[in-house]
């Protein structure tokens, strides 16, 4: 399957639904080891994304994801705003002129997105940040020539769950050191929703 404007719009919609439905859950995760705003931040940002994308016309996935990026950048704030904003911006730049976006083009886009996240946030894998979801997902995409949505979602899920046992090195949770152990990383959970939504769109499209 390949991604076009229509399927990416569906992806964003599904993601927004998950975020709105889990706003309080994400916030409570952030209360445990952060400052208790991750759900609020993501819900505010993706609501604005939907407001924007449902009232605009897009010719390419690149245009659409760029609008997503700019909206997140200017409406989320905090740590997650620049990170998700950067991720979508890099994805947008990478898939420019590649419509419809096939598996390899998308994988290259995720590679760029992760690079962007890591440049901004200076986090490596294993530091209890959303990198811990993006990196395994990227590896999974690279290791396969098809999307394989079921396995993609499973990879993201396992990766998200694995953040529970990590002692945080980056982000606010790092202040807690050992006490951060035993709690999921909020940003990894929202990133899991992102890939879960993608998997659902891919599944439906198959």
């Amino acid at each position: 399957m390949e991604l076009n404007v229509q399927s990416v719009l569906k992806w964003i919609e599904k993601l927004n639904d998950k975020i709105q439905n889990n706003k309080e859950y994400l916030t409570s995760l952030d209360q445990a080891i952060g400052d208790g705003d991750h759900g609020i931040n993501m819900a505010r940002g993706f609501q604005e994304v939907i407001n924007k994308t449902t009232t605009s016309q897009y010719d390419t996935v690149s245009d659409l994801t760029k609008d997503v990026a700019m909206t997140l950048m200017s409406k989320v704030g905090g740590a997650s705003g620049p990170l998700y904003g950067t991720a979508f911006l890099k994805l947008s730049m990478s898939v420019k002129g590649k419509d419809p976006v096939d598996h390899d083009a998308f994988t290259a886009g995720v590679q760029e997105a992760l690079n962007g996240i890591q440049q901004r946030g200076k986090a490596n894998e294993g530091e209890k940040t959303l990198v811990d979801v993006w990196a395994p997902v990227l590896r999974f995409l690279q290791e396969n020539s098809e999307f394989e949505p079921g396995k993609l979602e499973e990879t993201a899920k396992v990766a998200m769950e694995s953040t529970k046992d990590i002692i945080a090195i980056r982000g606010r949770a790092a202040y807690l050191k050992e006490r951060s152990k035993g709690h999921l990383d909020p940003g990894s959970v929202s990133s899991f929703y992102l890939f879960q939504s993608l998997a659902e769109v891919l599944q439906e499209g198959e």
Binding site: T27, Q31, A32, I33, G34, D35, G36, D37, G39, I40, N41, R44, M73, S74, K75, V76, G77, G78, A79, S80, G81, P82, L83, R120, G121, I169, R170, G171, R172, A174, Y175, L176, K177, R179
Partner: protein
């Protein structure tokens, strides 16, 4: 959650409206932004100072906008760093031709958003420099992690860098003195109660009636240790001791700040201050000036922080220099 507010998602806009209404001759809100700037911004040929961060730390940051301190303050959502576009608007609004200096507290979000704004400004040809404030000794100082947080010591950076800019210092001068403050300022806080982000609707953490949290941040982030609530003297000793261990204050003169986190009565802050002064006297550290009150809060959290700034003649002079802002006068 008991709060005096209208829509929990509008608290920042509502607050800024009330702020500008209170000081209409001194400040302005940049249209369609959450930026409060001096009424007369940009000041020609003066380095423009921009600070900011999440809301909920009032009087930080808009309360420090005015002569001798900030040129603009950018307000994010509660406890959420403002977005790059907002910071960029602030930079443009205060650029009087001598460049713009950013005071950034060391949180991942603040650093990323302010740096993105600086990149946008640089692309437009505006000279931008910055300092990252990281005075909280509760957090380990490490280059492998996010490192220390910026808390109440930030107010001294506003004051002193602001005075330098007001005196006509260049962007590099301002940066140098801001870095000197950062090198010489340390803080440590504690809390008795959590606080509630309006849009979250429930407290940031739970804590027993006989417990306190040592090393508390200013965003309801849990601290480093939870223990039985101690006397004011013991609290003063623990906080001051941690600060004193971090850099060598011996034989020096200091500015002291005993900062309330939001709902601690001033009475209690003065009780802490009494013991802080005794400790410093015992160690032969001379207090040049003391600040007791709410300077960098955490909504309605109960608790306090102790900040010590090691002074030299330059810092003393800049600390004394005139400042006229809603929350700080000298």
């Amino acid at each position: 959650m008991k709060k005096i507010m209208n829509d929990p998602n509008q608290v920042v806009q509502d607050m800024l409206k009330g702020f500008v209404a209170a000081f209409p001759n001194d400040v302005k809100q940049l249209p369609n932004t959450t930026v409060i700037a001096r009424k007369n911004a940009p000041v020609s040929n003066k380095v423009g100072l921009v600070s900011g961060g999440g809301s909920g730390h009032e009087p930080a940051h808009a309360g420090y906008v005015g002569k001798g301190m900030l040129d603009a303050a950018v307000a994010g959502e509660v406890f959420t760093s403002p977005t790059p576009d907002q910071v960029y608007e602030a930079i443009k609004a205060v650029d009087g031709g001598a460049g713009v200096f950013l005071v950034i507290k060391n949180y991942t979000g603040d650093v990323m958003n302010f740096e993105m704004a600086a990149e946008l400004a640089a692309a437009e040809g505006i000279d931008v420099e910055q300092v990252i404030v990281n005075d909280d000794v509760a957090v380990e100082d490490s280059s492998f992690t996010t490192g220390r947080r910026g808390i109440a010591g930030t107010v001294f950076v506003h004051k002193i860098a602001g005075a330098k800019a007001e005196q006509g210092g260049s962007l590099q001068d301002v940066k140098a003195v801001a870095e000197k403050v950062v090198a010489n300022v340390r803080s440590m806080g504690m809390a008795l109660t959590p606080c509630t982000v309006p849009a979250a609707g429930k407290p940031s953490f739970e804590i027993d009636d006989n417990e306190m949290e040592i090393g508390m941040g200013i965003h309801g982030e849990p601290g480093i240790e939870r223990k039985e609530i101690a006397s004011a003297n013991e609290i003063a000793e623990e906080l001051t001791q941690k600060v004193l261990e971090d850099i060598d204050y011996s034989g020096s003169e200091v500015a002291v700040m005993v900062n309330g986190l939001g709902s601690t009565p001033e009475m209690e802050l003065f009780i802490v201050n009494a013991r802080v002064h005794e400790i410093l006297a015992e160690k032969g550290i001379k207090v040049y000036k003391t600040f007791v009150g709410e300077y960098m809060t955490s909504l309605e959290m109960a608790g306090c922080s102790v900040t010590l700034l090691k002074l030299d003649d330059e810092l003393k002079e800049l600390l004394e220099a005139e400042a006229v802002t809603p929350a700080f006068s000298s």
